[in-house]
Assembly symmetry: C2
Homo-oligomer: 320 residues x 2
């Protein structure tokens, strides 16, 4: 048994490789995706995590496996899609069976939780990195596009912001990191169920992976509109409650890696949307409104607020 | 304009990014694949090329871009699928606009030739590598599976074998490489049209990327059968005609990187298959037959032939 076969065996025996959605999965030249109802389409997203850029080489492989899939599921969430399948392209410096099994265990639980089948992949030798391509089903009339925000829409954000950035700063500066804050960085929960609930109800959505202001800006630019956001309505991660205002703003507005959903919806749906919070066990905060003037305008107690935009635009960002 | 935006702009303006198949392509959290006829399915394949493993860091970026897409299209060919879309996950040490445009130009022409739209991707910072995920449409009753070979089938192979391996050896040993031989390594032509013509006609197929004997072995194992192959019927790359027999065998049988199709079909279709050669301008050689005994049995003038299996199983192989 060669190393290549070993890798194939580790993956083929995972629970998430046997969910049975696909007619042909691991082991052929291609996987065959299942047939979808005629009013549904496949939403596809690809994200890469690279050692040294997105994680430390000595990262716990179980956490790495979890996060690589979580960030991809977050892209499906932002479209309102239902996860169904994924492929894994894995580049490894050498084959370490224990490490590989831990990595696989890290994404297996999450994949099974969201009914997302491992249908294929590729394993190559080289510097450590993972590229996951994820497939979700969505009704094409209900898909949440970045470009669909409308003038006068409310702007909402799920969960709380800034926890992942706070954890990363604390790690970098050698400070103690509280477990719930660390979990925001290492085990982000993709808002898949919220995304599906919002499909056909919200207008536009995006996942907050590059920082709230930057991602909101992308959504507004795609929609040809602008946003007005009230700082005091931004849901701060509890770990930031006693931090300096400058740290709160940097982490919550520009931090990134939060994997919450920012979305817009008509004011007529305020109560309907708020009513999703309890059954889905997710915080939902109405933080501003869509305006005509392009850009993202931040207000603090009703007055314009300036935050440093340096570092908002970073190479290493995430694509579609 | 940040580096990230620059990369997005280079890709968004490519001809292959505007083929119009997809309802939503580059620029959202996900791409949306087009709707397929009810009897069709999406075939999906992922392949990674890593600097230092699959190519030299100083490779011509146009050739790299070409090959990264070509090897993925070859997997669609092996299923008999019609290319429709692909995503590109690109990891770069730094952003060099000229290099990036050359890379993009390398796959743009090939993508347009095969009507395959760039629908999304991800660009990250790190050691150079490319992961392409390709999507093709196929009638689910006609798909060419590895596991579908039947006892008594003829075994066929397209084109000629061993050219890519010969070129690689010549490069490694500092010998002159004839342009047609070099082209076999650097610009392999994926047998997409042949694959589609064989769909519903051939039984099983695989692309010869890891070496003819190894890939044929995979197909036979998946089918629960074996193969008997006549060495003198193997179509040798013209560059190997005057080589030593040991070199001919190593390159043509174990060399890999040829991206031809090996397939099985019933003897009743011999003429029908042979008749595809002229319109598709591809060589088609009938090299053996499917037998009951597992494994791949090589014959030279009717007598068992032994080739060194070392190096047949290499880490760095290719997945589904």
């Amino acid at each position: 048994v060669g190393e290549f076969d070993l890798i194939g065996e580790v993956f083929a025996t995972l629970a998430c490789a046997r969910l049975g959605h696909s007619e042909l999965a691991i082991g052929d030249d291609c996987a065959l995706l299942e047939s979808l109802p005629v009013d549904e389409r496949w939403a596809v997203s690809t994200d890469t995590l690279v050692s040294g850029t997105h994680f430390f080489p000595e990262v716990d492989p179980a956490l790495l496996g979890y996060k690589a899939l979580a960030v991809n599921l977050s892209d499906l969430a932002a479209m309102g899609a239902r996860p169904r399948a994924f492929t894994l392209a894995l580049t490894l410096p050498q084959v370490n069976p224990g490490w590989l099994r831990a990595l696989a265990g890290g994404f297996d639980t999450l994949a099974c939780e969201f009914d997302c089948e491992l249908v294929g992949g590729d394993t190559t030798q080289g510097p450590l990195s993972l590229t996951i391509t994820v497939f979700g089903a969505c009704k094409h009339t209900k898909v949440l596009k970045r470009s669909a925000a409308r003038l006068g829409d409310d702007i909402w954000v799920s969960g709380a912001l800034g926890g992942a950035a706070l954890a990363l700063r604390q790690v970098h500066t050698g400070q103690a990191v509280e477990p719930p804050v660390r979990a925001r960085l290492e085990k982000p929960k993709p808002q898949v169920r919220l995304g599906q609930a919002l499909a056909g109800m919200a207008h536009a959505a995006i996942d907050v992976s590059d920082g709230f202001v930057q991602d909101l800006g992308h959504m507004m630019k795609a929609s040809g509109l602008g946003a007005e956001v009230h700082w005091e309505r931004i849901p701060l991660d509890p770990g930031l409650q006693h931090a300096e205002p400058a740290m709160q703003q940097a982490c919550a507005l520009a931090g990134g890696d939060d994997y919450e959903l920012a979305f817009t919806a008509p004011p007529s749906l305020r109560q309907t949307i708020q009513d999703l919070a309890h059954p889905l066990q997710v915080g939902l905060s109405r933080v501003g409104q869509v305006i005509e003037k392009p850009g993202v305008r931040l207000l603090h107690s009703g007055l314009p607020m300036h935050i440093d935009r340096a570092g908002f635009d970073h190479f290493g960002g995430r694509g579609s």
